[in-house]
Homo-oligomer: 222 residues x 2
Amino acid sequence: MNPEIATQEAVNPDPRDTKDRILDAAEVLFAQYGFDGASLRAITQLASVNLAAVNYHFQTKEALLKAVYLRRLRPLNADRLARLDQLESQAQGHPIPPAAIVRALIAPAFAALEAGNPAIALMGRAFADPSDSLRAILPEILGEVAARFLAALRQSLPHMPPDLLACRMHFVIGSMAITLMAPNLLESVSHGRARLPEHPILLEELVQFTAAGLAAERGAHA
Amino acid sequence: MNPEIATQEAVNPDPRDTKDRILDAAEVLFAQYGFDGASLRAITQLASVNLAAVNYHFQTKEALLKAVYLRRLRPLNADRLARLDQLESQAQGHPIPPAAIVRALIAPAFAALEAGNPAIALMGRAFADPSDSLRAILPEILGEVAARFLAALRQSLPHMPPDLLACRMHFVIGSMAITLMAPNLLESVSHGRARLPEHPILLEELVQFTAAGLAAERGAHA
DNA sequence: GTCTATAGGGTGATAGAC
DNA sequence: GTCTATCACCCTATAGAC
């Protein structure tokens, strides 16, 4: 319709293609306003893309959220596995301390958060939403990582029953998840009187807390 | 319009008033389908109430969710504080073991879950949603409980810096929250190969894990 | 294959009659 | 206090342009 605008678009096209523009806009708005607070209309408007383009590239809004997750979590999980690989090759068969294992699991997420990765804060939705469709992505996100780290923990703490280690790793993931997705919970609950420490210290506190929990001796059950 | 129906309604009225009927229906459908999956039309239909009644009694859908939370969490928190009171009166000034303190915090939630309280599984949304309106209820829910339990932990572990205890209690809440709201995470992530133990055992595992983490000696920070 | 315009059925919220 | 009617918005689907 307007030849000036058409010319401008042709002269200065956005270097990112439509799919990436949608992913970038969705990541920002999902993190800021939540899944429902960010409408597809706002996302496509920020991405300068037609509304129906989302349906063409991602079919549904929830599939778009899943794509936003996976784009960020695949390299993050690769980082986790690479750190674990390095630990195992350095250990030369010697037992690896539990703290080093959980650090390899947790540190990449903190690094991503510090790098400004907005998808990290979103992950909580996958845990909290009872809808099956979103929970179905958890095995895809965590499956291999959980299996590899659980195997490493079994070698690190050979006297612990494997079922107990799996249960305790569940607790570890919980502590990590709430720290990543609700970092100012302590501040709001305490009306500002308490606050979590800065990131490098917070990471080590979380590592020590979870490592101690993993290695705890079993008492008598009531 | 139809005098027969009108007569029947007058003869056999629902003993619960409109507000309670809405709360009951919303609790069930929120837990089953999530906040967005449960439409106000479905809720009011299950409650046999007009659609506009929810707006009259609760103004907004999110305020309805908040009311669902508070109705269940107020007695739950009263239970927590009562157990802590009993511990402190029995201790007669002697230090209370950290495990007993966290048990007083966690056990009421497990009891509510076993009693079929559907609101427990919903709580995760308050942590996971970036929208301020829902997060704002966390101080109201957890404020007094957190303050009382943190004070008890300071007496139980007097050599620990208070800031460290607050940080570690944040981790405790994370482990508890993920266990309450995603109890089958382990099963889905492991493709069915691992599962959390039954409730009474799970409670004690969580108590021992968190108590060990709370009491962990501090190592050197990297 | 990529994108657009448009329409259909749903949603939460509200105004005003009773 | 309750209900009907209605609003503006939403996600999704599809037919057709390029």
